[in-house]
Symmetry: none
């Protein structure tokens, strides 16, 4: 599964690429319209995430050119919130779906998978780690076949650890991801983790004292 991320804002581009890679895509990146157009025209992608405000060639023009040339891969367009005009133009230009900014990475992934499913491909939404089964679309989890009901906050914490598996996530980072503002006591996070652990059992969320939390792929 190959994806093309077209976005000139370096920070957003990095996040999008990381999220897509975490979902199993091999990701190519383009920071301007001409590069994007060239890549999309000469190579095959299973998914394109396309920002509209691009240097050198506007995103809509890029999309129109692809469509005119018969390139029919699913394209997810990033638009400014509430700008329905952009949306209409996007749809007319051949976009398959649009996502208003700002958005959460999980939502981007969910829509991307929905697109690919519609396109006929199989959106690999279900990931397994030992006896832990995670459905990123339904936002549901099952342990040893038993479905586990997570709240929104718990889910987002787990998903973040999942996307950043392979490294230890500092509590401050997790706090910022979950809330944004930092008005909470640090203990709030600990409470969330505790509830997560009680629901999921051992061997899922680990602690590295003094550093942070991490996802244990190997279920005990």
């Amino acid at each position: 599964m190959r994806a093309l991320a077209v976005e000139d804002d370096e920070r957003i581009a990095r996040d999008v690429a990381a999220a897509l890679e975490g979902a199993g895509f091999r990701v190519e990146r383009a920071a301007d319209g001409e590069t994007a157009w060239f890549l999309g025209d000469t190579e095959d992608f299973d998914l394109v995430v396309l920002d509209l405000g691009l240097p050198r060639m506007d995103g809509l023009s890029v999309l129109r050119r692809w469509r005119a040339a018969g390139r029919d891969m699913p394209v997810l367009v990033l638009t400014a919130r509430g700008s329905w005009q952009e949306r209409v133009e996007g749809i007319e230009a051949g976009a398959d779906d649009y996502l208003p900014k700002p958005f959460r990475m999980e939502e981007l992934l969910a829509r991307a998978r929905a697109l690919m499913r519609r396109a006929g491909g199989l959106g690999a939404a279900v990931q397994e780690f030992g006896d832990l089964v995670v459905d990123l679309n339904r936002m549901s989890v099952a342990r040893a076949g038993v479905p586990v009901n997570l709240t929104a906050l718990e889910w987002r914490a787990l998903a973040y650890l999942l996307l950043n598996r392979a490294r230890v996530v500092p509590p401050g980072e997790l706090l910022e991801h979950l809330y944004g503002d930092d008005d909470r006591e640090a203990n709030a996070l600990e409470a969330v983790i505790a509830r997560l652990r009680r629901k999921l059992g051992d061997g899922v969320v680990g602690t590295r004292r003094g550093f942070g939390y991490f996802f244990e792929g190997t279920s005990g």
Copy 2:
């Protein structure tokens, strides 16, 4: 393959008819609403291209009457460019797609083909989920054999959840899909969902607190 071209501007009508004939359709023409309605009601067409601004009866009324009478042929509506409102009304009235004027004939043909593919192709217009039967062409629903009368808004909500089954749809996304502008209170959506549920019974529309709504394939 028979097509009906409804358009009062003689020049455009001629072009549309020519394009459709070039694509292999046998084309009938109507220049006013009443004639169009009569033809569409009494004869079978595989495709209708419908302009909105018509003498004697508005295009939207024609469309609504057809749908009310159970005529489910694919209808491609021609609207003024950028008229978001017209588009929404058109879809609510039962249009399958719309095309903003001015347009290139190739685009009309492309959309027409896409419509027919959707209507006749394997995209099985009738889908069943347990004792719930949904006809995507007729825009009709039945539960346990009993037909359920949905309003335009309710239908679009259900259809969107259906199209995006396999994932949880955030309320903001559903709101945007239903309305486009964001002027509505969030509660409007809850009201629509509540009415949907009352009509359909349990086991169709589910809620995931903090995330959104989803379609439950497993009817209880």
